[in-house]
Structures are given as C-alpha cells and as structure tokens.
C-alpha cells in the first residue's frame, strides 16, 4: 500500500519533470554552497592541525624567551645539565627569489617521545641526515613548488606541512645562521626527584597549543566564509520551500483521492517523507559533488588569501573527506525537512471532504503580513541594540543576521505599502495594481531571497570597495621610499649603506624582530628618526610630539589592531623592554598581527643579535632606476633583492585582491541561487494564476498583453526589491565595516559608497528577474485558448 501510494505521489514528478529539476536544483545548489564552504574550512583547519601537530607541538609544552627571541645555547645546556628533558628547535624562514621555505630544525637525539616525527622508510639515510650537507624532509607538494636556491638534498616524506622542511638542527643552524634554539620542547615526563622546571629557568613555559596561532588568526576569515555559506544555504532553501509548496498544491486533489480510496493519512505522510528523503538523497549527493567542485575551484584562492593575509600555509588542493560529505548530506535532509514541515502539517490537517480547490500556496493573509512586519521591527531593534552594546564577533554576526532576517520579514509589508501608494487611473490599471498586490504573498519568499542576495551583494561590495579605497590610499602614504634593498647579510648591508650614503637622500634601515605580546605573535620594528616617517605615517591618535618622543627611544607606537585587541590607548605602558609608554597608534591595514615601532637605537639595544640587512632608500624618483641597476650590476645583488615602490605596491594589491576573490565568487553564486528561487516561485504562481487571468482574457485582453504585463510586473517587483535592498545593503556594509571588521581583523575603515556598482547590480537584478519571468511569460503568451477556457469548465 505504501509502495502504491509512493508510486502515485512520484508519478507527479514524471509528469512535471521541470518541477523536479527545480526542486533538485535548489536543494543541490543550497547543499553545494554550504558543503563547499564547509569543505574549504575543514581542509584549512585540518592543515592547521597538521601544522600544529608537527613534532607533537599540540601535546608538548615549550620554553620560550618572553620576548620571543632565540634562547641562549648555554641556557639550553644548563637545563640539560640540571637533568631536565628539553629538546631544542631552530625555526626560521629562508627566502629565495621565487619561494620561501620554513625550516624546522630538530634534534632527534633529544626530542620527546610525544614528538612524533615524520614517517621514514628503510631507505632513509640517517648518516646523511646528520652530516653535511644534511637532508630536508619535505612533502611532495613542497618539493614540486617554488623553492629558494642552493638547498640541501630533499627527501620526500609524508605528513609534513606545506612549505616546510624538517631537518636536523645542525642543518637548520647552518641554513639560518642561528646556533641558538628558537624554543625548547619540554618532555611530558621529567626524571625522578627534579623540582618543577619553572624553578630552574627564567624562560617562559607555554602550555601545549591545542589551537595554533594561525588557527586563532584565521578564525574570523573562516567565520566569514561560514556566514556566506549559511546565507547561500538559506537562500537555496527558499527554492526548496517554493518547489515543495508548488508540488503540494498541485497534488492536493491527488492526496484527497488517495485518502478517499482508503489510504490512511499516516501512510500518505510516510510516503511524502520517503519521497522527500529520496529527493534529498539524490539532490544532496549532486550538491555535495558540486560543492566539492566549487571548493576545489575556490581552494587555490583561499590558500592564496590565507598565505597572503595570515602567512598560513595550506595546500591549494582539496582532499576528499567523507565527514563533510556526510555532514553536507545531513544538512540537506535537515533543510528539506525544514522546508517541508509546513507542507506536512497542511497535508495532515487537510480535511478529507474539503473541496480540492487549488489555492495560492503560502497565501499569507493580511494578518500574517502584519505579524511579519512586527517581527521585522523587533529584529531591527535587536540589530540596533547589538550594534550599540554588543561585544565580540558573534554579536556582530548576530546583528547582521537580525538585520537581514528583519529586512526579509518586513519586505511583504513594505511592498504592499508601496503598492497602496500608487493611485492607478482606469479600470485595467486598477486591476493590475490590485492583482500585483495579491501576488505579493505568493512571491514574498522568492522576493525575500532576492532581497537577501542583493543586500549581501551591496553590503559586501561596499565593504570591499571601502577597504580597497582606504587601503590604496594608505599604501600610497606608507610606501614612500623609492627603493627597497635586501642584502645577503647584515654585514654587507652595513657596507652598502656606507657606500651609498653620499649618493642618496636618505637610507632607512628596516629592522624587525618577531616577539610575543599579550601571548600572541607580534612584530617590533626599529625606525630611524626621519621626515619620511613623520610625514607619511598616518597616526590615528597620538600624544603631542609623538615622533620626538619616539626618537628619544623611550616610547613606542603600536598599530591599530594591537590597540583595539588589547584595549591600549596613548599613554599606556606596554611590556616591551622594561615597559615603554605608547605615544601613538597607527593604521596598519592588512596585517593580522600586533605590531610596535620603537626607535632604531632602542631596538638595536634591546635586540643586539638582530642587525638590519634590509633598508629603504630615499632618492629623487628619476634617479631610482639607475641606482637599482647600479646595485644589481656593481654590487652583484640578485634582481629580486632590489625592489622599487611600484613592485611592493603591486604585491600588496595582489594580496588584497586575492583576499576578496573568494568572497566575490560566493557573492555571485548567491545571486544566481536567488534568481532560481524567483523563477521557481513565478512558475508556481503561473499555474495558480490561471483562474485569475482567464476572466481578464475572456473580457478582451490579449494573451500578449497579459504576458507583457506579467514580465513588467516581475521587473517592477525586482526594482522595488532592489530599492529596499539598497538601504539594507548599506546597513549591512556599515555593520561589516564598523563591527565585523573591527572584531575580526582589528581595524576600522571609513565607509564609502559606490553608486556605479549599484547600477550594475540593479541591471543584474533586472536580468535575473527577467530571465526568471521569461519562461512563464512565454508560456502564457503561447497558451492555447482551450487551456484558458478549461478554467471555466473546472470552476464549480
């Protein structure tokens, strides 16, 4: 019986394959966007975990110097001589013209058992690993990629993070020119009767890192992706909801007949559920496959973003992971269930003897529209409240969600209101407006989807545009020096600086050290007192004579990110050297890390081991090319060691563009999904509207006129939706810029609007609405009169 009932229900799709395709497509697209984003996130997280688990760093405590500088070898030896089981690691990057490589030098003789090294096979040459020139263990991908020149032999090994080489500490020491360990791994079990290690050293003990710095840094990026995935999924569900609703309305009579012929309600509900499960399984599988393709296509962009913005190394390759495939399918089922709940309830409540009259599904009553409007007002209030007093990224996203859902819920009321403002002249025009207003409830879900997609598009493009505008202006200010030079060593840098000094306006050494501030990675720079900085570095807030105070060496500047994250203000003391007052805060877009600037002399005093080997040259722009050539030819610097301003700028912009490429792609996809939602709804309505159109046709309106009217109506509704989406999108952009960005990245950007972008988006919205309306319109225009007269025959 169940089988027969199920076959009968399914026969509907066989007769209406278009509807089935729409339902499956909506579901597949929703699943695809969601699971694609999840796949990207899962891949990135797995990469962070792999990196964090390298050498068991996720399980082992570490000893570090509080300032992040390398540990004196003598301090290491002293700890060993006191009996403590600690193991040195020398970590650093080597950079070449084409690529860079992170060198992780370990001492296999002392690494604790928890520090699982790479898996090695029997052909591994241990003597070669320990002795000159050493071996670099790298993954196949790293070996295939661009690498610095003159590396020791590579050995391909599994389970090594990308762009990283594990090698013996002696090889690392030689390649990096650093004998002192960067940090020490501490074995979990220490020998008999030793006092706690913290009593034996002044070094700082850091607990095992369950999440790496990179994972923390990139959290906000992944949250952004997730939010996009969720938005797309929500928009996709509109389609599913519309398609399921349409199918329900069309099968209302069938269900009634089945029940009259003796099929229990329970059997019908079960058959409906089974049918939806089958569809969800098919569409979900397609969606997961599509999601994989989307993710694989976006992955190189994501990898590029993560590398450019955060220095996080992940491979641009997507691995298939059954867990997200399964979770993708699961979310398809949940989404289908959510979209179908209304239909199931209606089916259950449908009286057996009610006339099988098709009604416009989801025909929200005036009361429903009012309720939605109240809910919208409440959500706007919530959004405003969150914007004013909310704290943290979650609150910022909650504010976004409240704003968007509120706008969607308020849409029908606003549309109805807008239409009631129109005072049409003539009976026909009156009918058109009235008919349009009547259509709003049926179209509202699709229009909501369109509104969300448009608002998201406006919001995100405003944010990206504002960012780009500010960032480019900031780069212009910041990149003032004509040439940037990297010498092979600090000694050669010093010699070069001396030789060049008479021929150029100024030489500004660039020296920086990595350190930890507030238990997060940070950088500190030492700068010379020079007008270049005084004039070009925009300070967001500053003490009087900030640059003078900095020059005396007893003050620091910190970047906006650090000041916002740690709530630092001008005048606060920061834990650098013996504690220095902050005299200024500067903007530092694109940098996820905290940063501080101190005077060059103070820097060299604090970090005697770090000598500048990079410097910037101020020279008249006309002389710059000649000097660059001279540096290369006369001093034999490799071509990439001398870069001009334009190159640095180009590189920075490339990183920036990369960052937002993925966002842009997701944006377009979401808009596409909204277009399909609109199409589905229009198709749904097209059939249901025949009884309303037939009398108008009968009293003397041509089919062509009716069809043209339908098209015009779609475009008009899309226009209205766009007009409403505009303020919502701008509000969204404001939230993104003032709340999300500050929370996620640590900088605040001035908002700029780009009306020309709106025009193109408006055109796109009209195109989507036009395309969606095209099919139903053409069908109406070509509809045989018999089909229209049938309406009267079927009326009772």
């Amino acid at each position: 019986m169940l089988y027969t009932a199920l076959l009968t229900l399914l026969s509907h799709w066989k007769r209406h394959p278009g509807q089935f395709v729409m339902l499956a497509l909506g579901l597949a697209l929703a699943t695809a966007l969601w699971s694609g984003v999840q796949a990207i996130n899962a891949e990135a997280r797995a990469a962070y975990d792999r990196a964090a688990a390298t050498l068991g760093q996720d399980q082992l405590s570490r000893l570090e110097r509080a300032d992040g500088q390398p540990i004196d070898l003598a301090d290491y030896i002293a700890l060993r001589a006191a009996g403590y089981l600690v193991s040195p690691v020398i970590l650093g990057d080597i950079r070449g013209p084409d690529g860079h490589l992170r060198i992780l030098g370990v001492d296999p003789l002392t690494t604790p058992a928890e520090a699982q090294g790479p898996t090695l096979d029997g052909t591994f040459n241990l003597a070669a690993f320990f002795t000159h020139p050493g071996l670099l263990l790298v993954s196949q991908d790293t070996a295939n990629g661009a690498l610095p020149n003159d590396l020791p032999p590579l050995q391909i090994t599994d389970n090594i993070p990308p762009a990283t080489a594990i090698t013996d500490i002696s090889t690392a020491a030689r390649l990096l020119g650093q004998e002192n360990p960067s940090y020490l791994l501490v074995a979990a079990n220490q020998p008999h009767n030793l006092p706690p290690i913290t009593q034996a050293t002044t070094l700082t003990l850091r607990a095992p890192q369950s999440t790496s710095d990179i994972a923390r840094l990139t959290d906000s990026f992944h949250l952004n992706l997730s939010a996009f995935g969720f938005l797309s999924f929500g928009v996709g569900l509109f389609i599913v909801h519309a398609a399921i609703g349409l199918a329900f309305e069309q099968r209302r009579a069938m269900v009634r007949t089945l029940r009259a012929l003796g099929t229990p309600l329970r059997t019908i509900l079960m058959a409906l559920s089974l049918e939806l499960a089958v569809i969800a399984l098919i569409a979900g599988t397609i969606g997961v496959a599509l999601g994989y393709l989307i993710a694989a296509a976006l992955m190189p962009g994501v990898a590029g973003t993560l590398r450019g913005l955060y220095g996080a190394e992940i491979e641009g390759i997507l691995r298939f992971n059954p867990s997200w495939a399964i979770s993708g399918l699961l979310i398809t089922f949940l989404g289908t269930a959510a979209a179908a709940i209304q239909v199931m309830i209606r089916t259950a409540r449908m009286p057996l003897l009610a006339p099988a009259m098709p009604r416009a599904w989801a025909q929200a009553s005036g009361r429903m529209i009012r309720l939605q409007a109240y809910a919208a007002l409440a959500l706007f209030a919530l959004a405003a409240l969150l914007a004013l007093v909310g704290q943290g990224l979650i609150a910022a996203f909650a504010c976004l969600a409240a704003l968007l859902i509120g706008a969607a819920l308020g849409l029908p009321a606003l549309m109805t209101g807008a239409l009631s403002l129109i005072r049409p002249k003539g009976a026909f025009a009156e009918w058109v407006v009235a008919d349009t207003r009547q259509q709003i409830p049926g179209l509202s879900l699709a229009l909501m989807a369109l509104l969300l997609a448009l608002a998201a598009n406006i919001g995100v493009s405003t944010m990206v545009g504002s960012f780009r505008h500010t960032f480019l202006g900031w780069l212009d200010q910041r990149l003032t020096s004509e040439l940037y030079v990297t010498a092979p060593s600090s000694a050669e840098a010093a010699a070069l600086m001396q030789i060049l000094a008479p021929d150029v306006d100024a030489i500004l050494p660039i020296v920086s050290a990595e350190m930890r501030l507030f238990d997060r990675p940070a950088e500190i720079f030492g700068v010379l007192d020079h007008p270049t900085y005084r004039q070009a570095w925009p300070l967001l807030s500053a003490a009087p004579n900030a640059w003078d105070q900095l020059a005396t060496g007893d003050a620091v500047l910190v970047n906006e990110q650090l000041s916002r994250r740690e709530n630092l203000r001008v005048g606060d003391i920061i834990d650098i050297a013996d504690g220095l007052p902050i005299v200024g805060i500067y903007s530092d877009y694109g940098n996820p890390n905290g940063q501080a600037i101190t005077s060059l002399s103070h820097f060299l005093e604090t970090f005697p081991n770090i000598l500048p080997h990079r410097f910037a040259i101020r020279i008249t722009p006309e002389e710059a090319p000649a000097l660059a050539t001279r540096l290369r030819d006369e001093f034999g610097l490799p071509p990439n060691a001398v870069t001009n301003q334009a190159q640095v700028k180009a590189f920075s912009i490339a990183v920036f563009e990369q960052t937002f490429r993925v966002t842009g792609a997701l944006n377009i996809l979401t808009l596409g999904v909204a277009g399909i939602a609109l199409l589905t709804s229009l198709l749904t309505l097209a059939n249901l509207r025949l009884p309303q159109l037939a009398p108008i046709w009968a009293i003397g309106t041509s089919r062509a006129t009716l069809a043209g009217l339908e098209m015009a109506r779609s475009l008009a509704l899309a226009t209205l939706t766009f007009l409403l989406a505009l303020p919502v999108g701008l509000a969204l952009a404001w939230v993104l810029l003032t709340l999300v960005n500050v929370e996620a990245f640590g900088w605040r950007l001035p908002m700029r609007v780009f009306p020309t972008d709106w025009l193109s988006l408006f055109a796109l919205a009209l195109l989507a609405a036009g395309l969606a309306a095209l099919g139903p319109t053409l069908r109406l225009a070509r509809m045989p009169p018999a089909r229209l007269t049938q309406v009267f025959a079927q009326e009772r």
């Binding site: 001589a81 241990l126 070669a128 020998p191």
Partner: protein
C-alpha cells in the same frame, strides 16, 4: 621515527654489525671508511687516552658496581657512556658528528631500572673532557676527584632515571689493567680487535635513590674503557661478558663472542690481587649456558658454567635478578651475579645479541 632509527645506527655499530650492514646504511660499510683501526702493541698515554678518540668509530666508558645495603641486600649499578662517530671528525657546534648515548641501570633482587640519554657532542650537552677528567651526558656524569695519580683513581658517578637515581664515590685500590696484548684485544679469528683496558679495583660508597626511598650502599666496581672502529666480524651477532671478583681479591674478565652457528670466540684476562695479568686467547676459557629465563619475550641464558682448566676454575654463576633487562632503544641483559663452585665471589654479566 628518526629517534628509533638513530638509536639503531648508534648501537648497531658496536653490537650488531651484521644487521646494520644488512640494512645497507650508506657510509658504514664493513671497511672503516677513514676511521682509524686498532693496531697491536699499543702505547697508551694518560690521561689523554682516558678521553675521547673521535677518529675511532665507537668508544665507551663502562662502569658496573656490585653493592650491598645496610641490611645485607645486594644491588647492582651500571653507568655507561657510549660514543659513536658518523665521520672521524669533530667540531664545536651542532654539526659535530660525534653522538653520545648514556645508559644507567640499577638492579635489586626484585626490580631492575634502566634509563637512557642521547645527545650530540660539540655543543656541551655530552662529551668527555680530560682536564679534569669528566665523562657526561646531561646531568649524568663520571668525574675524577683525584688531585694526583691516575685520573681514574677516584671518581664520583651520578645518574637519574624516571624512577631512580644514584650517586656513588669510587676509590681505586689497584692499578689499571690491560687486556689482550697490552690493551690490544682481539675479538675474532679474522683479526677484528679493540683497544681495551680496565680499572677493576674500585671500592664504592654512596647512595641509591629508589622509589621506596634512599639506601646507603658499599661495594666494589669495575670500569671498562674500550674503543675501536670495527670491533666485530661480519658474522658475530653478540656477546656474553663476565667480570668476576674472587674472595681472595683476584679479578677476572671473560667474554664469548657468538655468531648464529659454530663455536663462540672466547677470551679473558686473569688479574691477580696485585694487578698482574695473564691473558687467555680463544679456547682457553669455556662458557656454557646451564639454564635460560624468559626475559622481555625472549629466552636468555641466565645461569652459566665458566671453566678455566689452566687455573682449575669451574664455577656456576647465578644472577641477582634474572630480569635484569636494559629496556633501552637497543635492549640487552646486564646485571650483578654471584658464583659458586671451585671459587666463590660476585661479579657482573652482560649479554647482547639475544633477539
């Protein structure tokens, strides 16, 4: 994992040449590739030769002590520093190809503890210095406490494992003794040999830190110094080594190098109470296992019959603890023994190659 392979590399050099070569590690062929090889009739220069010989592939400072607690309980202690060279060079940085491995053992009648440390020379984590004499790895060390005379005449040794520690003071009551021909000790019929001398006359006092608390101990100890580049022949897979202290004050060292088949290669040195020696070449000493014990999943001969017809010695050795298993990267049996028969006394037994 690097660590395991590395330990294999270091350890297979002295003990397990065959399997090492079978694995075909490059740079460690049967030939001693640039390493020095021992030659007959050596002349030792002290204290220089107490120190490391980086041009030889393998070397050790190997101390075993038979000890007694205040209640008459017997204990055994082992302290060893191995040196293995990847190339016959050295330097003062991470690149030094001189690798060190420390083993510490402590045996009681019902427990056996072992610990291991690895480290490289060149940076100060492990090594051996001559002035003053100090062999060390991490906090484990063997330090000379003499102001005049041979540097090895008085020593302190310390070591610490996860469950135990010890701190012993040693004073020699006799001279250094040289095995084989003046310290040139032949290991096979094909001529493999090492430089080998000992200080077998230590009196010991000190303290053992056991899980149950500290124990004051006294007793005797024996220090072996040996270095070579290729001590075993291709076919030899392990050895059984005895150090014996007779009740009359005499000492004896005996070993058998065994391979899979055939008769073991035996050798030994009789040491009179005054330190005069007599060397015995292959065949003069016979070593016969009497019974075996299941240790760490393998059968190990733990009671032995040792016969030296030339000296009318026919004794049976019994271990203090048959489970004296050194659970180190390269495991072996090492523990104190007592013997009865024509003679009586205490000693130490080491057995390798029982896989």
């Amino acid at each position: 994992m690097i660590r395991t392979l590395l330990t294999l590399l270091l350890l297979t050099a002295p003990f397990h040449a065959t399997s090492l070569y079978a694995q075909g590690f490059a740079g460690l062929g049967t030939q001693a590739d640039g390493f020095a090889t021992p030659t007959p009739n050596p002349t030792f220069t002290f204290p220089l030769d107490h120190g490391p010989h980086p041009d030889y592939r393998i070397e050790w400072w190997y101390l075993t002590a038979t000890l007694t607690g205040p209640d008459g309980t017997s204990y055994g202690v082992q302290w060893t520093l191995f040196r293995g060279a990847l190339t016959p060079e050295t330097s003062d940085n991470w690149a030094a190809p001189q690798l060190f491995m420390g083993h510490a053992g402590l045996t009681t009648p019902d427990a056996h503890f072992s610990a291991e440390r690895l480290g490289r020379g060149g940076i100060g984590q492990a090594g051996v210095t001559i002035h003053p004499f100090r062999a060390f790895i991490d906090d484990w060390q063997m330090v000379s406490t003499v102001s005049e005379g041979d540097a090895l005449d008085a020593l302190t040794i310390t070591a610490r494992g996860a469950e135990f520690a010890y701190d012993l003071a040693l004073t020699a009551t006799g001279p250094l003794v040289f095995h084989g021909e003046n310290g040139y000790s032949v290991k096979s019929n094909e001529g493999q040999a090492s430089y080998y001398y000992s200080q077998p006359f230590y009196q010991v006092t000190g303290q053992l830190d056991l899980p149950d608390g500290p124990v004051q101990v006294t007793g005797t100890a024996w220090l072996d110094r040996e270095y070579s580049s290729q001590p075993l022949s291709d076919t030899q897979s392990g050895w059984d080594w005895f150090s014996l202290q007779f009740e009359d004050g005499a000492r004896m060292m005996a070993f058998a190098l065994h391979d899979g088949t055939g008769t073991p290669f035996t050798s030994g040195t009789w040491i009179a109470p005054d330190g005069t020696t007599q060397s015995y070449g292959d065949g003069a000493i016979s070593l016969t296992p009497l019974s075996t014990t299941q240790v760490a999943g393998r059968e190990v001969p733990t009671t032995w019959r040792l016969q030296v017809p030339d000296r009318a010695i026919d004794i049976t050795t019994i271990p203090l603890n048959p489970q004296s298993w050194m659970a180190t990267s390269f495991p072996y049996w090492e523990g104190p023994i007592t013997f009865t028969g024509t003679h009586q006394g205490r000693g130490y037994l080491e057995m390798t190659g029982y896989n």
